[in-house]
Symmetry: C2
DNA sequence: AGAGTTGGCATTGGATACATTCATCGCATA
DNA sequence: TATGCGATGAATGTATCCAATGCCAACTCT
């Protein structure tokens, strides 16, 4: 996984398949491609001026990321989640992200924490949804990515990515209501981190994710998209 | 993921790449291929009487499973874990398998539970290590696979698979000592399941995995294998 | 003699061309 | 009219061939 979330700009590889994969991932995460949308190999190949071979490899890379589903002799689609599956992803996050935070808590620098504090404020003043989501992502990710290695990090990045389209729709719906609670939770989390209080930080983070999941569970309309979902 | 663990024999697909992937996965899980071992595309292609294209796709499938690592313009290796990474995988399992068990607890049939009981006994009499590991896997998997769907199931299967080589070596080392505790834990777990006691079952399972992890942490020699590890 | 450079070889990455599969639609038939 | 069969076409799967990369050893130059 390219760890795009960590803001470590991976130097542009000259391997075509990974470049195509990177571009596709960006398109999916930005919402240009929607969950359930069909992906045609030949179309993509033409679009990139390449043959279908690197396109296929790119698709397989995205399968690894959980962003694409491929079915033999049938085709590839942007991954889509049912409401239950999305809820499941959130429950996994509830249990894993506090663990990852604990891993990192001792290693966070003062600069990390200062930046996290800035981001809490920036989120409050975010002019639009995309900006807010970018800040939110950076805020949490700062607290996750100090310790390097870590298949846990990759795993959680995948979970963020696969749920991102739904989070976007969801937040568009409930933009005004409940956002205050989110800011409060961020502040509490930041305070716990400053105190290096693992248990408290874990607890707040768990509740933060859990609350979002429960709200999301109340909005089935988020998952009523127009495309076939075949996964 | 082919869900091989669930004993649902996937009918042999006539798509070459998936057949090659299945065979490779089997070879890795059985120990015929060791962590860190180099995989040469051409060699494999010849071995299967195929071209390198489906071999490459097979390797990408195994990357998705976490069983293979690929590096651009360099090659592919059977995934290997450092001791820290393995410990990390176990910590993830500690948090996720209890959740999966909870998901399934209400749906388990009497036949499931009966079979689980048989397996507890069979494990006590297992003549060799491989047999024991197969029973152990089936025992836990029965309690995990009643509820279908579930990316959680796939995720946990991956974690079992990637740690399997080390579990094998580890159990070979400590075969005699501590196995009694394992049997006891299995019995307690089974009892909790019979009572449909989610909290207790979660707790026992958590401790079961945790105890194994801590023992594993005490045996660095398990991770001293002869191959290059480049992940 | 030692360090940097260059060439070749082994291996992976990609393009073209062909084979195969699957879904769809039309048509014949009960 | 409903059903089932078969042709058709669009998409994916695979083989073969060629290009590009990277490693390693031999060689040159100082």
């Amino acid at each position: 996984m390219t760890r795009s979330m960590t803001m470590t700009n991976t130097p542009p590889t000259n391997v075509l398949s990974t470049r195509i994969a990177d571009e596709l991932r960006r398109a999916i995460l930005s919402g240009e491609l929607s969950p359930g949308e069909r992906i045609r190999q030949e179309e993509l190949a033409e679009q990139f001026g390449a043959s279908r071979i690197p396109v296929r490899e790119a698709l397989r890379i995205l399968v690894t990321d959980g962003l694409v589903n491929m079915v033999s002799n049938s085709g590839a689609w942007v991954s889509s989640l049912t409401q239950d599956e999305c809820s499941e992803h959130y429950q996994i996050r509830e249990r894993l992200e506090p663990l990852l935070l604990r891993y990192n808590l001792g290693a966070l620098t003062d600069a990390d924490i200062a930046r996290a504090g800035e981001l809490v404020e920036l989120m409050k003043q975010a002019p639009d949804l995309e900006t807010f989501m970018r800040y939110d992502r950076e805020f949490h990710w700062i607290t996750y990515s100090r310790v390097e290695t870590n298949s846990l990090t990759d795993l959680i990045e995948k979970l963020w990515n696969t749920t991102q389209p739904y989070r976007r729709v969801f937040m568009k719906l409930v933009r005004s209501g409940g956002i205050e609670v989110t800011h409060l939770e961020h502040e509490l989390l930041l305070e716990a981190i400053k105190r290096r209080d693992s248990d408290e930080a874990e607890s707040i983070l768990h509740g933060h994710i859990r609350r979002t999941r429960i709200e999301l569970d109340r909005h089935p309309e988020v998952f009523a998209h127009e495309f076939d979902k075949s996964d």
